[in-house]
Symmetry: C2
Subunit: 205 residues, 2 copies
């Protein structure tokens, strides 16, 4: 039956329109700007309509959240052809911080936000995050097997490194770096990355 197919297609198109609009609002003015009513007004529907396509606001936010992880993973994949795991890890650290600083709203949603979308971590919906985490973990694993990272296990090292970059990013994004003048933050991040690189990883090989 063709009508049913069309119906389903239209339903999907409407879902896409809602998500697209939500992303638009998100990019324009951050997550605070993404309200059911704002989305509804922009697509010229009533607020209630949206609930025919999404269970709740969390589901919409989750779509934006997923898009963020797509962006990050695409960046990670750009490191695919770097053979040296040490170099790869170094570049991944820089890339991660660059992504965080240039996409603060996305980063916030992906790794910091709470009340905004409790849904995010509920189900097994962590796949996209898992994928990025594995990419890091695999590289760390290569470093260990290569003898560049020593005296630790894969998971401890991976969590330490992730924690390190996430810590810097989230302190900056959530405005907890009042102790240093705005201008020197970027420089300090650079110095910290170098400090970590110099000491955690050896180029002995």
């Amino acid at each position: 039956m063709s009508t049913e197919d069309r119906k389903e297609r239209e339903k999907l198109e409407m879902r896409q329109l809602i998500i697209k609009t939500a992303m638009q609002l998100f990019k324009e003015d951050g997550i605070e700007n993404v309200s059911i009513r704002a989305i509804a007004e922009k697509i010229e529907y009533s607020p209630g309509s949206i609930y025919s396509y999404f269970k709740d606001k969390g589901e919409i936010i989750h779509a934006i959240h997923t898009e963020g992880f797509e962006k990050l993973y695409a960046l990670q994949k750009s490191l695919d052809d770097i053979k040296d795991p040490v170099e790869k890890l170094r570049r991944m650290g820089e890339l991660y911080m660059k992504f965080a600083m240039e996409n603060k709203d996305y980063y916030d949603l992906m790794f910091i936000a709470k009340g905004v979308a409790d849904k995010i971590c509920e189900k097994q919906e962590w796949d996209v995050g898992q994928r990025s985490y594995n990419y890091l973990r695999d590289t760390v694993k290569d470093c260990i097997e290569n003898g560049n990272i020593i005296n630790t296990d894969v998971d401890s090292a991976t969590f330490a490194i992730w924690g390190f970059v996430h810590g810097m990013a989230s302190l900056i994004i959530r405005g907890r770096c009042a102790m240093m003048p705005e201008e020197v933050i970027a420089q300090t991040v650079k110095g910290s990355l170098q400090f970590i690189n110099t000491h955690l990883i050896s180029n002995s090989n």
Copy 2:
């Protein structure tokens, strides 16, 4: 004039009562439970009354936030008589993570929360935070002067170390560690702390 003194005293007492009640609600059920209306009900006043004593909700939250920093600093001070800066730094890392894990709500407010209290970072109200940061920075400085931390400057090393512990804490608190089973988190944190300690700091002395 005695009445004026009493008036002022009563005003202060009322402020204290409001803060005390807010903290009570906070400890009972987290920051979500701290609403102007809930505080008002608990002290048997109308919601509007609270605005005779505080400009807005942010000022009340800020008081709780400050209490958190008092708690943390008290813990740091307990390390005062450790002479060896390396040992001191190691213990400070453990202590910081312990504080974060045992006072998740406080930690959230102090280092992660956003919308809840924009006021927090507005003014020069960062003093209590600065104090704790300086305590860490001074210890790192001692390590550098002692030759235990090398090839870096004080600020890069301090930010790196703070970022590292904050990163782990905030990832856990905001539920971004779905990739590892609940039970192994504590163990991984331990391993990560050890990993960092082993490599960033040398006991050469």
